[in-house]
Structure formats: structure tokens, C-alpha cells
Point group: C2
């Protein structure tokens, strides 16, 4: 986008602070707005009718999100909650079509971003369909450090507070299993675990484990 286009887009946004722990929108609410995250981190979680939670993704600064209405849905399919204090830009949903048709380069970018998410979702479908739990957790961690890793003396740290429950909900397994797996990896020197903190000390070792031959899975 050129500077003039960008000015027009920004001029029509409102900025909004989202304190840690609060929701930007909730699953089932009518889709009134779409968003770009300026600062901070969100997690997007879908709840099943029986109350089980599935972590759909983390939203990083620069990401567009909450575009359900733009895609002809009347309600948000999941809940987006701030993991740390965050700041977002907000636009009313009903300007989506006009925005995209009058800013074609923006719409190409949105398509690329949707393509990336679609590929990530298909990768998760593949992992959930063919890999046992330990490899899935390894792939989840490797994806997180690729998207939000920061090098430290201990290794590559996930750049925001993350719990073992988050990892379970992102890997299609239970808190109990994740906890058991991380303890094993910690004693093998692959990871270091703290309170809401995960550091991968041996990225190569974890990658090797993630790619090992399948042990078979129903």
C-alpha cells in the first residue's frame, strides 16, 4: 500500500486498549468489528458445546483478526483474549467490502495471510490425524518458537506467557499428558519450563523428535 492509502485506512480506525485477561470479542457475539493488533498478544480459543477448549491460534502484532463478518458470518466463531496488555485498531465490519475493493493491494495481503492460516490449519489436521501425542506437542512448540521465538542464553524462548494448558489445547491433548511429556523433555535437556514460560534449549533435538517415524495411531 502507498502512504496515501495507508493514511485513509488508519484514519478510519479507532485504537483500543485491551488489558491482560480481557476479551476483545467472545464466541457467539455478533460480528460488529474487525481488527489489527498493534501491540501485545492475544489467544483465540474455541469452546465446544460440552465445554472443551481448543486453542485456534495466537495473534501477533501486525496480524488482522476478527474478520468473520467480512467472510459472511454473523457471529464470532471463537473468543480472543489478551495474554498480556495489548493495543488494537478497530474498524466497523460493514466497511470491509468497500475497503477491500478500493485497496486491492490490501486485499492481496489479506488473501496471503488467510492462505498461511489455511496451511497452518491443514498442517494441524495432518498432525492430529497421523501423529501420536508427543510428536504433536513437539510440532506445536516448534511452530510457536518459529512465530514468536526470542533467543536467550538458555535457548529459544516463547516470547509471551504461555501455560501447559495452552500447549494442551493447541496440541489436542490433556494438561496431564503435556505435563508428563515436558517433564521427560526437561530431564533430557530439550526444554526448560518455568511458570508461564517455555524455553527450547535444544531446537535440533526437538525437531528430530518431531520428525521421527510414527508409532501408529488410531
Amino acid at each position: 500500500m502507498d502512504a496515501g492509502e495507508l493514511d485513509d485506512v488508519i484514519a478510519r480506525a479507532k485504537a483500543q486498549r485491551i488489558p491482560k485477561g480481557t476479551a476483545v470479542f467472545r464466541q457467539g457475539e455478533p460480528t460488529k468489528s474487525f481488527f489489527v493488533l498493534l501491540h501485545g498478544r492475544l489467544k483465540v480459543v474455541k469452546v465446544t458445546p460440552s465445554g472443551q477448549q481448543v486453542l485456534i491460534r495466537f495473534v501477533n502484532p501486525g496480524d488482522i483478526y476478527g474478520i468473520a463478518k467480512a467472510l459472511s458470518r454473523e457471529d464470532y466463531p471463537a473468543t480472543a483474549t489478551a495474554v498480556i496488555d495489548s493495543v488494537t485498531l478497530v474498524w466497523p465490519s460493514d466497511i470491509w467490502d468497500e475497503f477491500m475493493t478500493s485497496h486491492p493491494s490490501m486485499s492481496l495481503n489479506v488473501m496471503r495471510m488467510m492462505g498461511d492460516r489455511l496451511q497452518e490449519a491443514h498442517t494441524r489436521v495432518k498432525e492430529l490425524s497421523t501423529e501420536e501425542v508427543e510428536r504433536r506437542v513437539a510440532h506445536t512448540l516448534l511452530r510457536l518458537i518459529a512465530q514468536s521465538g526470542r533467543s536467550t542464553e538458555e535457548g529459544v524462548m516463547i516470547d509471551f506467557p504461555i501455560t501447559q494448558q495452552d500447549l494442551a489445547q493447541a496440541s489436542g491433548t490433556t494438561f496431564h499428558s503435556v505435563s508428563r511429556i515436558l517433564s521427560g523433555w526437561e530431564s533430557e535437556g530439550l526444554v526448560t519450563i518455568g511458570r508461564r514460560k517455555v524455553v527450547v534449549s535444544d531446537v535440533e533435538g526437538l525437531s528430530h523428535l518431531a520428525e521421527q517415524a510414527p508409532s501408529g495411531k488410531e
Copy 2:
């Protein structure tokens, strides 16, 4: 799109016949083209390094597909094979950006379609993460009859040849499990199974089974 735009788009396409069993493109091949299916049915399958297959989706007439290059990928992430004799339109990948920027209403439609696929992929992630095998197979069948069902005297039939192996690869399970589950359902009068043919005789019963309380899953 108005008629003039549509003429321009169609004028730049080539038509291509895809005999049953042949691939339009294969996983790993360079992305030279994107496509719209005119007639027939394709299945899109991703193979893991160890040779396990995951069915990503069926392509129906009117669907756009093979848009990997458009989304800045250099190779196709999966293989698309004709399930029945099919006919497709083909465009060179390098005209994608020009196409989308000069036909904004087309790009809005593509975004909506990608949004639908993203929601379907997230639904599968949710099912694979939280449901045991029988409910997943039920959801797969219900999705298939919603997308490609045809009413017959016996019930709602999936409108193209489909195998129990396909259902296994679309539900993240084994041929053996699908076979066992379908036999059970057949004796309960929920489905009728033939060679490459699945008919849902009791849609309400199958929906009820798909929504039953979870029995817990690692």
C-alpha cells in the same frame, strides 16, 4: 462480477479434461497454474513423509483450487486427483495478482471461499482434538452430505464415488475403524453402504450421535 469482467476472466482460461484417476497437480510440484472446476469431482490428499495420507477436501464444481502460488508458495502442498471424469479451467499463476486487483468483486469472493475453508479446517481441528473416532466419522459424513448430498429413496446419498479409505483419511482414523463403525451403523439402520457408495438413511439419528456427550479422549 458483471458480464464484461467475466468475459475477460474466461477469455484467459484454458479448458482441460481430467480423466478419472489422473492428477491435476501433485504435492511438491512447482505451482504453475490455478484452477476452477467446471464439472466432475476431485479429491485433495496430503501425504506425510512416512507415507500416511490425509484427505484435505473434495473439490466441487464451481470451486477455485490450486491457488498455492497466489498465496506465495512455490509448490503445491497436496495432490488433486479426479474421482470421476472431470473438466477444469486453468490459468497461469503469474496473472493472479493482476486478476485480483483488477476484479475486486472476484477477490471478495475468493476471500469468502477461503474463509469457509478456514472455518471447516478449524472445525476439523476441534473434532480431532476433542472427539473420539465414531463422532468424527459421523461429522465427516454429515459434512459430505451437506456439501454433496443427493436425496434418493434410500436416504441422502453422497453424490460421487467414495471409499471407506477416503472416509478414514478424512476423519483421522484407520480403514479398519471406519469399516467397523459403518457396519455397526448399517445394522442400526443409520446408513447403507455399497461399493464406493455411502447413503445416510437416518440423518437425524446420525446428527444425534455426532452431538452426543464426549466420552473423553487423550
